[in-house]
Symmetry: C2
C-alpha cells in the first residue's frame, strides 16, 4: 500500500525492532527546517547523524534556540557509538554541546572545517570534546556501524554525505547537498561514488528535501563572482557586502573582486571574523597579504579604497547592517550613493526583517543589490532537477525525505516515485516517527514523543509550552495586576486595593474605574465571610476581567495578588 | 538638483503654501504598504484621496489595526471638501469610519462597488455616511477641486483613478492599478483617457509603486481561469479554493469551473459570504440559479459534487482554512487526496502563517496547489513594464511614487527617470513629507508629524509606543512580580514577601532563591530607616533584576509592588 499522502503517520508505541533490522528515527529536522538529528539503531547500538539547532519563530517568543528532543535516547546514551556530522552549519552542529553535557566522552566525527567550527563552539561552552577528523573516501568502523564518507557540494566547504552499512542493509544519508557541476573549489558532489553505492544496492536513501519544490537546477556558484565583480567595479563610494558567515566561497569571490579593484577589506561581525580566520588557517580561504584591515582602520581610509564584508544579511536586529540601516552604527553612516550588496538568500520567516533593512538603507539613499534584483546568491540545496540525478544514480530501494517542511518532503517523495522508486517504499516520516528497515523494506512502525526543547538564556528546558503561552498572552495584551491586602481573620481589606496595567494602555487613567469594582467585590466577599485568599483572588479577577472585556474588548492577563496580614 | 537618493527628506515645519500653489501630503501609504491616505490642499481647502488601514506586524503586537495619523488635519476638518475613494480594499477604505467619527457629514465619493463595501463597513460602526456614487468618465466640482474619474484595472472590480484640477495644475492619482489588456470584465485601464490628460499636461503624477521592482508585465487574469479549471476538472475528492474575499473576478472563474464540472458551491468565511452577496446584487458576479448552497448542506453532499470557496488564504489563524489545516474544523476534515487551491498572493509578512497552513494541509495528505507550484494567482499591481506604458502615456512634469515601501518607491522613481522625467522632478516623499506644486514644479518643503495610530479592541489611540514596548518586553521574557507589605511608619515588612513569575519559567521553584534576597534587602532598607514605598520598590527591583540576569541571563520585566499598611 502507498505510504504517500497518508497523513502524519502512526501514533502507536513502536514494537521491538526485529533481529537484524535497522531502525531510523529523526529527533529533529523532518517536518521543519532546522535542528537536524537522525538516530540509527542496529542490534541495540545507536549512531547519530548531525545534532543541530532550530531558530525560533513567532510562536516561540523570547527563546534563543530550539534543540532536538533527546528524550528518546536519554537513557541509552551509553549505547551511542558516535555522532557523525555532515557539515558545519548551525542546524547540523549547534546542539552538539547540549548532547555532550549528558555524555562528554561521546566521539564526534566530521571533516576538518566542520570540526574546527564545532571546536570553536565547544570552547564557548568550556567543553573539550573528542573530535575525530575524517575525509571523503574514508571508511570507519564505528562499533556496530560501518561508515563511509562522500564529498558533497553545499554552501559551506567540506560537507560530507554518510553511507552506513550494517547487516540490515546500506543506508545513504546525503546531509545538505547540491550538484554544482562547476564548484569553486573543484570539490564535486561524488556522484560517481553514489553510483558505485547504487551498483552495490542502497536499501534506504535519506535525502535533502529543502528545494524539492523548486524546478530545474541551481545556478553554478561560479556565476555569482562576475556579478559581484561588476557591482564592485562600478561603485564610486562606499560598498558593503553582507553574506552568511559560513559561506567561505562567497567571501572568497568578494575578496577576489576587492583585490582586482584595489580595495582593502574589513570583516564586520563577530562570527564573520571568527569563521574566516578558521577558514584561512585551514587553507580554505585565500587572503592575500595586506588585504585585510580592521574596522577602525577601514573607516579612516578613503571610501573607494575599502570594502566591508558583513554579517546581518538576515536582518538580525542587533547586527551591524541593521544598525547601519537605522542610522545607528557607531562607525559607518550610510549616505546617498553608497552601495550595499546582500549576497545571501532570504530565509523564510525573515522577510519582514530583511525588507526592513533594505528599506532603511534605501531610505538613507543607498543602492541595495540583492537576490531580488541581481544574481548575487544561489541556494546551497539541490533543486528538483538535481534530485532526479541523485535518485537515478543511487537507485535506492527505499527513500526517506529529510530536511524539510511537509511541503518539501511531499515534493521530494513525488520526485522519487517519478524516477521509479515504488510508492510503497517512500516513507514520509516526520520527527519521532520510527522507520524500520527489515528484510530490505522500510516501513513506519510507530512513534516516539518529540517535542520542542527550548534554550532561553542559561537554561535548557525550564521554558515550556505553558511559559510560552503566557508570553503570547502578555505580548498581545499585557497584564493588569490587582493588589489587595486583607486581614487574614476577617477577609477585610486593610488598605485600598490597587489596579495597574503594563502593556495595556498608554492612558494613565485607563483602569481607574476598575478600582471601585474591586472595592465593591471585596465588600461582598467580606460580607459573605470569605477569608480564603485564593477565593478572594478569583473573585476580583472575575470582575476586572469582565469589566475589561466589556469596556475595551481586549484580553490582557489578569493577575490578582491577595496578601493576608 | 536631483531629489533622488537624498535620504528621507526635510524635517522642517513646512512654510506657508504660496498663493496659487497646491500642497500634497500623504498621512499614510508612502514608505509602507497600507493605510493609504493623501491630502490635497488648495487655497485653504482640502481634498482627501483614500483613507485605509494598515495591518500590524510583529513590532506592533496585539494591535488590531493601524490608522493614518489624522493630526495634521484634525483642526481643519471643516475645510475638507470630500473623501474620494479609488477602490474598495481595506487599505483604501478601512479608516473612513474613524475619520467620519470626527466629521460625520463629510461626503464620500466612490464607485458603486466601493461604496457598497464601505456602506457595509459603516453599518458595523453604526454610521450612516453621505455617499456619492461616481463613474469613470464623470467630472465633479468638489469645492475648490475639479475631479475627474478614470476606469482602472485592479484585483477588485470598479476601481478608479482620480484626476484633480485646480488652477495650480493637473494632478493624476492612479490609486492601485495594473494594465491587464484582456481584463475579464472588459473594463480596461483607461490609457486613452490618460493619454488625453497627457496631451493637456499632467503637472504631477502620483503612481502606484507596489510592483515597480518586478520586471515585465503581469500575466492576464484570463490565464488563471484555465489553470483553475484544469485543477477542478481532475480532482476526485473534495476541493477547496481559498482566495481574497474581494477578488470578485477570481471567484467568478472558480464558479464558472464549478458549473462546468457539475459541482455546487458553498462560500466559507463571513467576509466571503458578505462581499459575494454584494457583488451579485450589483451584477458584478454571476451566480447561476441553484449553484450556491450553504455550508451545512454542502458537507452532506457527495465530495465530488461540491466546491468550497473560502477565506483564509493569508494563513489567518482563526480562519476556516487554518482550522482545517490544524484538523480543528467542525465540519470539514481534510484527508489524503483532498485538494486545496490557494488562488492568492502571499502578502509579505504572512509567509510563516501561509506555509504553516500549507504544511498542515500537506501533512494531512491534501494536494495543495498554490502560486509557488501553479499559475493560480496574478498580482493586481502594475509591474515595471506596465509602469513604463503609464509614464509614456501620461508624460508627467513631476512624479511622486505612492503606495509602497522605500525599495518600491525608489524603483518606481528610476522608471520615471528612464522615461524622460527629469530627475529633479521626481519626489520621494514618505508619509508626512509636504510636497508643494508651485509654478509647475513639485518640491518637498517640509514635514508634518505622522505617527502610527493604533486600534486595539474598542479604543483608538490609547495604545501607543510605551504600551507596545512593554508588550514586546513581556512577550519576550514575561514578568516577575514582587509583592511586599510594609508598615508605613517603620518600613518594616509585615508579611513575607512573594516573588512570582508569569511567562518566565515552567519550573515552579525557578524563583525560590529570590525570596531570601528580597528579605535581606528589606532588612537593609528597614535598617536604613527607608519608609518611602517607591524607594523600597526600586531597591527590591534592583536585587531581583540583578539576580535574574546573572542566574538565567534573561530580561523579564520586574514589577515590584510595595503596599503600606
Amino acid at each position: 500500500m502507498s505510504q504517500l499522502g497518508n497523513g502524519p503517520g502512526p501514533n502507536n508505541t513502536p514494537p521491538p525492532l526485529p533481529d537484524g533490522g535497522l531502525r531510523v528515527v529523526a529527533l529533529g529536522g523532518i517536518g521543519e527546517v532546522g535542528r537536524n538529528m537522525t538516530v540509527f539503531e542496529y542490534e541495540g547500538r545507536l549512531l547519530i547523524v548531525d545534532c543541530g539547532v532550530l531558530f525560533p519563530e513567532d510562536a516561540q517568543p523570547g527563546v534563543d534556540l530550539i534543540l532536538p528532543d533527546f528524550r528518546a535516547i536519554e537513557s541509552r546514551l551509553d549505547e551511542v557509538e558516535a555522532i557523525v556530522l555532515t557539515h558545519g552549519h548551525e542546524d547540523h552542529i549547534g546542539a552538539v554541546p547540549f548532547l555532550l553535557r549528558m555524555r562528554p566522552d561521546l566521539p564526534v566525527y566530521g571533516s576538518r572545517f566542520t570540526l574546527a567550527l564545532l571546536a570553536a563552539k565547544c570552547k564557548e561552552h568550556r567543553q573539550r570534546p573528542t573530535l575525530v577528523e575524517v575525509k571523503e573516501g574514508e571508511r570507519r568502523g564505528l562499533g556496530a556501524f560501518e561508515v563511509e564518507f562522500f564529498a558533497v557540494n553545499h554552501s559551506i566547504p567540506d560537507a560530507l554525505a554518510v553511507a552506513i552499512r550494517t547487516p540490515a542493509g546500506l543506508v545513504l544519508h546525503t546531509g545538505d547537498i547540491k550538484l554544482d557541476q562547476l564548484p569553486l573549489d573543484g570539490r564535486l558532489t561524488d556522484l560517481a561514488g553514489f553510483s558505485r553505492l547504487g551498483d552495490e544496492g542502497v536499501d534506504l536513501l535519506c535525502v535533502d528535501s529543502t528545494n524539492a519544490e523548486v524546478p530545474g537546477f541551481v545556478t553554478p556558484e561560479r556565476e555569482i563572482g562576475p556579478v559581484l565583480d561588476d557591482v564592485i567595479a562600478t561603485v564610486s563610494q562606499r560598498v558593503i557586502v553582507a553574506c552568511f558567515a559560513s559561506h567561505v566561497h562567497r567571501v572568497q569571490q568578494v575578496l577576489d573582486a576587492a583585490v582586482k579593484h584595489g580595495k582593502r577589506v574589513a570583516f564586520v561581525g563577530r562570527s564573520m571574523v571568527r569563521n574566516m580566520n578558521i577558514a584561512a588557517e585551514l587553507g580554505l580561504l585565500t587572503i592575500p597579504e595586506g588585504l585585510l584591515i580592521d574596522l577602525d582602520e577601514a573607516v579612516n581610509l578613503p571610501e573607494t579604497k575599502v570594502l566591508f564584508v558583513s554579517t546581518g544579511s538576515q536582518g538580525e536586529p542587533l547586527s551591524a547592517l541593521s544598525r547601519m540601516a537605522r542610522g545607528e552604527h557607531r562607525q559607518i553612516s550610510i549616505k546617498a550613493g553608497d552601495t550595499v550588496v546582500l549576497a545571501s538568500s532570504l530565509i523564510p520567516g525573515n522577510e519582514n526583517a530583511v525588507f526592513g533593512v533594505i528599506n532603511g538603507l534605501v531610505r538613507l539613499g543607498a543602492n541595495v543589490v540583492h537576490q531580488g534584483n541581481a544574481k548575487v546568491h544561489v541556494s546551497g540545496h539541490a533543486s528538483a532537477g538535481e534530485l532526479l540525478f541523485l535518485y537515478n544514480a543511487i537507485r535506492p530501494s527505499n527513500v526517506m525525505p529529510v530536511h524539510g517542511e511537509w511541503r518539501h518532503l511531499r515534493a521530494n517523495a513525488e520526485l522519487a516515485v517519478r524516477t521509479g522508486v515504488a510508492e510503497e517504499n517512500v516513507v514520509l516520516a516526520e520527527d519521532g516517527v520510527v522507520v524500520d528497515l527489515v528484510d530490505g523494506k522500510a516501513t513506519t512502525t510507530g512513534r516516539v514523543e518529540v517535542g520542542y526543547v527550548y534554550v532561553d538564556g542559561l537554561s535548557v528546558g525550564d521554558v515550556g509550552e505553558s511559559t510560552l503561552s503566557d508570553r503570547l498572552v502578555l505580548g498581545e495584551g499585557g497584564f493588569i495586576a490587582i493588589n489587595v491586602v486583607v486581614d487574614s481573620a476577617t477577609g477585610r481589606a486593610v488598605s485600598p486595593p490597587t489596579v495597574s496595567g503594563r502593556g495595556f494602555s498608554d492612558d494613565p487613567k485607563a483602569l481607574d474605574a476598575a478600582v471601585a469594582l474591586v472595592e465593591m467585590e471585596l465588600s461582598r466577599t467580606e460580607a459573605e465571610g470569605i477569608t480564603d485568599t485564593h477565593r478572594i483572588a478569583q473573585a476580583v479577577r472575575r470582575v476586572v476581567g469582565r469589566w475589561v472585556a466589556e469596556t475595551y474588548r481586549r484580553r490582557p492577563m489578569i493577575v490578582p495578588t491577595v496578601i493576608p496580614v
